[in-house]
Structure formats: structure tokens, C-alpha cells
Symmetry: C4
Subunit: 318 residues, 4 copies
Amino acid sequence: MNQPSFDPGLTQKYDSPLRRTFNADGSFNVVRRGTHWRDIHPYLHLVSVSWSRFFGFVLTAYVLVNVIFASIYFALGPESLAGGMAPEQGVARFLKDVFFSSQTLTTVGFGAIYPNTTAANAVAAIEALVGLLGFAVVTGLLFGRVSRPSARIGFSERALIAPYQGGTSLQFRVVNRRANSLMEMQATVTLMRVKPEDGGKLRSFDVLNLERSSVIFFPLTWTVVHPIDNSSPLNGKTPQDLAAAQAEILIVLKAWDETFSQTVYQRFSYRYDEIVWGGKFTPAFHVNGSGDLELEVDRVGAHEQVPGLITQTAAQSS
Amino acid sequence: MNQPSFDPGLTQKYDSPLRRTFNADGSFNVVRRGTHWRDIHPYLHLVSVSWSRFFGFVLTAYVLVNVIFASIYFALGPESLAGGMAPEQGVARFLKDVFFSSQTLTTVGFGAIYPNTTAANAVAAIEALVGLLGFAVVTGLLFGRVSRPSARIGFSERALIAPYQGGTSLQFRVVNRRANSLMEMQATVTLMRVKPEDGGKLRSFDVLNLERSSVIFFPLTWTVVHPIDNSSPLNGKTPQDLAAAQAEILIVLKAWDETFSQTVYQRFSYRYDEIVWGGKFTPAFHVNGSGDLELEVDRVGAHEQVPGLITQTAAQSS
Amino acid sequence: MNQPSFDPGLTQKYDSPLRRTFNADGSFNVVRRGTHWRDIHPYLHLVSVSWSRFFGFVLTAYVLVNVIFASIYFALGPESLAGGMAPEQGVARFLKDVFFSSQTLTTVGFGAIYPNTTAANAVAAIEALVGLLGFAVVTGLLFGRVSRPSARIGFSERALIAPYQGGTSLQFRVVNRRANSLMEMQATVTLMRVKPEDGGKLRSFDVLNLERSSVIFFPLTWTVVHPIDNSSPLNGKTPQDLAAAQAEILIVLKAWDETFSQTVYQRFSYRYDEIVWGGKFTPAFHVNGSGDLELEVDRVGAHEQVPGLITQTAAQSS
Amino acid sequence: MNQPSFDPGLTQKYDSPLRRTFNADGSFNVVRRGTHWRDIHPYLHLVSVSWSRFFGFVLTAYVLVNVIFASIYFALGPESLAGGMAPEQGVARFLKDVFFSSQTLTTVGFGAIYPNTTAANAVAAIEALVGLLGFAVVTGLLFGRVSRPSARIGFSERALIAPYQGGTSLQFRVVNRRANSLMEMQATVTLMRVKPEDGGKLRSFDVLNLERSSVIFFPLTWTVVHPIDNSSPLNGKTPQDLAAAQAEILIVLKAWDETFSQTVYQRFSYRYDEIVWGGKFTPAFHVNGSGDLELEVDRVGAHEQVPGLITQTAAQSS
């Protein structure tokens, strides 16, 4: 009771086949309906969308504001703006208004075109203010986007059912793909299974005990080990059992990123068909000639088959 | 002892009828007196006020600074600024000074009006610096405003007294109305009651135990359950008891928002007349034809009446 | 063992009379020697200094950079810059160079003076870049300054030795002087005493147990209570004892500020001569005519004398 | 089980002599291979590189963007830009295009050169937008660089094997070299040893228990003490033992920096040959004439030899 756990509707039944819980990018495979436009937080939205959408939004807003102010200058009459190429009319005048507007909004202010009446001067003073405030917001959004913390943890491609102290264990290995420091990394590992119940299906979630659930620092690789003991929900299971239960190992890693000075999270999952029965990780680092530790980041998943078949998990004999 | 709890004057008596503790927006229903202007933190204030007030403040400051610098240019004499429409006098000259000032403050600097004396040049150099510093502060304030973390948790409109393991429980259901990820969500639920004492009234606060006080991730809905057992302050109560005690269920949710990279809080409360006796939440999500989970955010409060009347809470028979 | 505690040299002896531990502003009364200029972090420094020093620094840097670039334009010869009032020489030319420099550095760029040679154009292009980078740094510093989190907790002017459950307790009361929300406030209270030892003096620090060491939210006042029981270092003490020991109650409050989205700390201390023997806090809030709670922030220290003298602390009789 | 610990491949063997674990600056002595350019986070990278590289990057980008836009103006023909010194051709015209480009990109906009065709005006409007966005990013990067939290903890040059309660202890002393406040400082101390195994070598890591693992505030010095008791991996060891095991004491300090409002970490290590056998720290602070505590930051490592030789650690006799 009162333990952190994962419960997205523990008591809910399903009646259709299900796809995996986590998408490849760690987001949840959930379709959302019934949200309201008031649920959208503009900052959260603009910080999360793709770069092309973001620049599309900025460009559209830039053009729009320019056109609005240009229309005001246009409405104020041909004498509003002096300078420019020649006494323009119609489209040519509107274009001149647009260019003057863009020079004011961005505070470039070449001065080749300049406001020549009180009204135009007042509008230009407002437009420069609008420009400064608008680009202040864009500056904040850009900073929010580029400085948004993220981790880039590499996971072994496969989880292993490996021998462990006379019994077996579930293992996977992680590495920091970036050169920055991650401190106090914690792992939470949950087993998701689907059980038939009352004609429908029921998802169940069990937190798996770990040999070690956190490390103080994380310069090399970390092999996360769930010892399969009598209390483990994986005890005595065969590959067929896990397939039948549509088992999925859900992983959440949490760490303190020293460069971002922020807590970062990363999610990952292994499905039953991504588990190797009877494997053992081989070192992903060695000591080189000059006595330095040398880490091969892309060997995080390197493993070898152990002798003898493992076709069923077993708790340590005691 | 030493447990986190809510104690806004546990030993204080009241002698008037009281309105609810939390306002609709989660703020406290407290009127504050005796504060001092020195207690106001300008940043906190300008980040919290409404957008209209904020822009009103920025516009006022902009006009004010412009008028101050314009007055200085005006005082420096008509030869200070060259260019402009014609040799101006009086109001026209002051307006020209204002427009030049705005072009300098915003660093637009068209140059159609320009400083023509040493004094005017020096003042313009100062004004441009003031403008850059001022808009730097406004940029910071705007960033603080738009990037201010907030959660948007949807709560079921009603809390339920629901059957639970042979007894009863208090339940409510929450959903993340936004599509972003909330991690490690924690719930703290407190029962507020008003008890008569010594002719006055006394508020009491009891933290309610939860079946599960936190979830690791929160992609769907979370039904927060307080099992009513013998130790629960709700044990053996009737709707009339709760009404008489002006009972209010105070809720604080805390989570880590992955997009903001910040801890977010949300408060909510259910008053005695917002509790349904004998209800059960119905699923707010289902598996659709393509095997994906589909969440209906606006069905977070969906519930049905359970058969049989519940007119009194009861602990699980054991 | 392994408990958080305060130990600034527990085993160190003193041989002079000591002044109080905390200054009025919560900083430590410690003079630092032997630091090195490399220990200064420019950002930390410029974010912490007074506003007058900060603006003095900005103004000095602005003038300095202007003079440096003006000297370069001057060195490039009179033909470098065109426009301006007339063919200047000597000081007048240097002043023109300064003003052009300031117009370039701030990106105002009136254009009444403009670069007229390749060299001057190149220098101006560099100066505009320097200006943008420099003001970017100043923008960051200003944002760091105005958005720097702080709490403004009001403390009762006096701590009280108050009756408590048949015995006595040490109490003080706090209030949030600002209207924003502080969540999960925690208090740590330490008793500092000076003991004679080996001819010198020795400071000792004892963490005092609290009836309640944290509150979930903090909309009104919080009376922090240390019950004086048999394990309390205050048990059986008289005012004279505390004076002889130069006793000081050191307080650290920690909370989550919802508007700053930051953890904030505040320190405070009561010296032995700021303790009232035999007092009781009177309510600082009441329910007004419209049923709202009304908090009088400046009455946080309101207390009354309790009947009967208390001249010695005593544990609760049991 | 489940305790935070350091395990960078506990089960991995080495077959070469190893250099120390931490570099002088607290980074790990690990060479990384097999990373991919997609593992680089541009913000993390640009916030971490040296100032010279950072400014080199900014300058290169500035020149590059200028040249690109200048090429566009050049391609648009000689009539695109009006003003400037004279009807230029070839290199002179390209230079004029570069200078106009830089005046537009930085939004200086002198106006002595100005866009004179619709196409040139449109490109200039885009370039000013690019400039504002680009410098917004640079502003964010500069803010990220200057405001990046860091601690500057001074460590005693040597760790000591010091007498302690009838036995011995391992001690080192730390001081905050900066004047700002560090709160809730925590220390984690790990002993790293190399053991021969199966012909190869195996690193082992043991967390050392501390007399006190955290302090609430940290105004003076903090002597971190590991009492050597029967459970200590250092019990009964000689200097020769530690040298043979290539022993290294790994330290991680964690604290809340009040000025940064951020958690800061600092790493440090003592190798076996940086341990003094039989030493005692002498006070690094005293009470001066005016009754103030005076801290001598550079005396953090001051110690004296204790009488009698200590050539072997010993647990407290009990």
C-alpha cells in the first residue's frame, strides 16, 4: 500500500487485441479524444512541435503582423510615409508600406522610408513596441526549445534471461550515449501482462525488484538486474507463457543531468519477443594501452549465448 | 508526529459560518490584510497579473519613458534634433521629440530625425541603453509569464462513495487534460471538518490514507481510492453527518512535467454536497479497432449508480 | 548517525565572546579570508550585487566599449565616418566617433553618421555583433536578477515558552507575507549553545523535535511547536540558563514556491533575549461577515501573557 | 539491496594497469568510442565548449550568414541596393552587399545603404527576421553558459587517518570557496579498490558509512568523518595494503545553491598516496577581536601530525 506504482486503470477490462504500450520514442501509445482547445498551453505546444512547424508559425505571424500594420499605413494615405523609390500608388504603395512595416517591426529602421505624419509616427512607435514584445516571446520560445532537457540513454537491443546465483535473472544494459554527466540514476522496471478475465482481458502491472535500483554516477554501462526469486512474477515462466501474456517490460530511468541542471527521464520497453533466453552481456569497455578506460558506446547490447539451454526461469536454489 | 500535514491554525476557533476552503481555481479562499508594499516582489507580481494588466503596465512605462526623454530633448532646444518635417515649434516640436525618443528607445533609429548636438547625442546614447535594458527586463517577464509551469488535471465532477472489498471507499478520478507527460504523480487527500467546540467552531484536518498514493506515469486516468477502514475518519458516517460537519475533501496533486521540466501542483476540493453515495466509475478509455488505447478525456467523471443504496460508509468486514 | 545536522566545526573551541550566528537578513555572521579571485563566479556575483552596483557596472562597460571602438574609428582617419555635423577635427571628431559607436553598439543606427570606408564598415559590423552579444549577456543577468527566487516569511518577533499538554513548549509563528502559494513547507529548528570546555568555549548544536515539521500548504499562519519533553535539551532550563549559554534558536524554513516554480529557503534566529517566558499566540485571522477567512499578516507575532509565571521549562507530566 | 551505489561494470575484469578514476576537474577518466553525431545535443554542446570555441562558432556563423545574404543581393543585380559610396562593381559591390547584410542582420540599419527594389526589400525583411531569431538563440546560449550552476568546494589537499573514539577514522575537510549559501549538503564517499581475480583484475566499490552524511547549512568548514569500525572495508589496513589495492576514495558532494536556486554537485577523489597516516585537522576559523567568526578559506587543509605513529587502521576498542 502507498507504493509508487503504475495503474492506468487496473480494474478496467479490454476486449480487443492490444498493441504495445510504449511507442519507439518512449511516448505512450494512447489516442486522446474529447480534449478542448482550452486544454492547450501555447508555450507547451510551441516548445513541443517540430522545428518546421515552429518556423512556419513564426513566419506566418511575421507576415501577418506586417500586413496588418502595412494596411494601417496604407489607410493613413500616401503622405504617411516619405522616402522610397517614387510616388507609389496601389500595389506599389502597399508593398512600400509592407517593407517599411518590416523595417519597423524588426527595428532595423533603415530610414530610406520613414514616417512623415503624426499618425504614421504614432503607429510606427506602436509597431516597434509590438515587434520588441513579439520577438521577446519568440526569444523565450527558442530558448525553451533549445534548452529543453532530454536524456539519450542507449539500451541493449535485447533483454536477457541470464544465469544468476544458481538461478536466473532478467537483465538489460544501458549506457549514456552523450558525454555529459548523469548523476543518481534510478531505474523502475514494471512487468505488464494481459490476463483473461470474465471473457474480456485485463492488464496487470507488477513492479520488479532490482538487485540495485540506482547508481550514484554513470560513466560506463549499467547492467540492471532483476533477480528471479520466489516472489518474482517471472518465476517459473517459459517463453510461451510470456508470449501468451503479451508480456512487456516497461522501464523508466530518471537521473540528474549536470549540464542541463535538470532531472531527466527516459522510458523504454522490451516486449516478450525482444527477450533472449540464456544470454550474458559481454564487456562494452576495456583498459587501453595508456591505462585509460575505453567505453564502446555502441556495444551496449553486446552479449553471448550461455552454454546450456534456458527454457524456463527459475529462482535461485537455496 | 512529524508527518506532513495541513495546519492553518489547528487550535483556532471560529464563530461565523464559513465558505469553502479552496476557490474554483485552486487558490485559497483567504482575504489578506496588513501586508506592506515592501512585501510585493515586482517579478512575482508582474508574472502573476492578468495579460491586460501586464500590457497596460508595459504600455504605460513605454509612454512615460518616451515623454521623459522627449522633455529632455525639448529642453535642450530646437537645434538638438535635425531632420523631421519642418522647423517645428511648441507642440509640433514636442511631438517630434516624442517620435525621435520612441525611435531611439526601441533602437529602430530611422534617422529621418537625428541628434544634431553633443548634448542630444549623449542623451540619445543613454536612451538607447535604457531602451535595451528596459526591453531586456520585459523579455524576461514575458518569458517568465509564458513559460510558467502549470498542470491541467481534469477531476471527476463528483467524488464517489463506492463499494470496495466488502466495505466502502471514497474515490475520485483524474486525467491529464494535456497530451504532455506527467511523471511520478502523487496525491495528498485531506478531510476538513468543522466541529463545534466551546460555543465556537473548530476546523479539523485529517490526512486520508490512500490505496495507492502515487503513480509512476499517468497516460490514462487514475482513480484515487481512500479505503474506508476502521481507522478512517469517514468510517460510519452518513451524508447528514458530512453536511453537519461542512466536510470538504482537499486534494493536492504533485507531478513532474516532462515538457516544462518542472514540478507542478494542482489543488482541488469536493464539498459534502459534491459526493455521490453509491457510485462506480465507468471506463473512460477503450481499445479501438486498430488495437490502440483510446482515451476520452471528457469522460473522466463518468460513473453509474451501484445497485443497492449506500447511506452510510462502512469499513470492510474482516 | 547519518542524520542531517548542523556542524560548522563541532569540535572547535573559541576563546572570545561571540556575536549572534545569523545576521538580520538571514546570512551567516562569518568573515571570510583567503579567498582567491578565481573563486568568484561572475554570474553569481553580478546577480547578487546591489542594483546600484549592477547599473554602475553596466554603464561603465557601455562607456568603455564605446570609447574603445571610437578610438578605432578615430585611428582609421577622418574619412572613415561620413555625415555628421561638419568636417570635425580633434575632440569634435572623437565625440562624433563615440556617438557613432554608441549608435552601432545599441543597433539604433540612425544613419546620420555612417561608415564610409571598407575598414570602418568592417569595424562597425564587428561592433554591432559585440553589442548584440553584450546586451544578450546583460539581458540574461537582468533576468537572473529579477527572477531570482526568494521567500518573504514573516516571523513572530518573539519565540514563546508556552504551556503545552501539562508541560511546556517552545513556539514561534510564521506567515507568508506574500499572496503567492508556498507548498510543502518544512521547518528545521536547531538550538545553539555555548559551553565552557578546557578553558575555552565550545558551541553545540541540537536539532529540536517538532510536533509537526512540515505542512502541505500554508495559506494562513503556522505555529511551529517544539514540545519540551525529557529528551529535549531545553528541559528544566531557566531564562538564566539560556542567557548563560548564549542560546540561539536557529530556524531554516524550506518550501516550494508555486509562482517561481522553485524551492525557496528562509533563515531566522531567536536569541535567548528574544524569548517570552509564559506566552500564548492569539489568532491572527478571523472569519469576516461574508464568511471568508481574513488573515492579518502583521499580527503574526500577536500573543498574550498566560496566567501564572513560567520561570522554568518542564516536560509534560506523565 | 536497492541502495544507491556505484557500479560501472562490477562484474568486469581488467588486464592492464589503470590510471585514476576521476580527472583533476572531477570528470571521469573514460575514453568514449562508437558515439554517433546524432548523440550530440547542440545546446548541451554549445553550453559546454570553451569560450574561445563558442565565440569562434558565433563569429563563423555570423560571417557565413552575411556572405550568404550578400551573395543573394549580389545576384539580384547592382540596382538592388541604393546609397553607398559610388556605383560599385565586382568585389567592391560584393563588399557593399556584405556590409548592408551585416547592418540588416544585426538590425543596425544605418540606411546609408538601403534596399531599392521589391526583391531586395523582401530579402532584407527575411534577413532581419533571421537575424532576430539567430541572435535569440545566441542570447539563450549565452544565458545558459553564464548561468550554468557550479559549486566551488575546496577540499583539503590530503585525507587523514585520524584517531577517533579510541580507534581510527578516515577524514577530509571541505569548505565553500564562494561566499554564497549552500544548503543541505550531502556527502557520498566510496572506496574503490582493485582486486586480482582469475588472472585479471577486478575493481570493487564500497560505500563508506559516515558519522554524519549531511549538514543543513555550510557557513564554515565541514570535516567529513568515516569511523573505521569492524564493518569498514578499511579496518586493519596498512598503507601498503591500500597501495597494493590502488585504493581511491571517491567523493560526491551535493548541495542546494541558494543563488543559483539549483542543485549543484562536485566530485573529488583521494588516491592512496594522498592519505596522511596519523593527522588531525587544525581549525580553519577563529573568533576575531570584534567577536565575529573569521574563516580562512585557504586553510581548509591545515592539519598537524598526531603524536604516536599510526601504521594500521583499527576499529574502536569496545
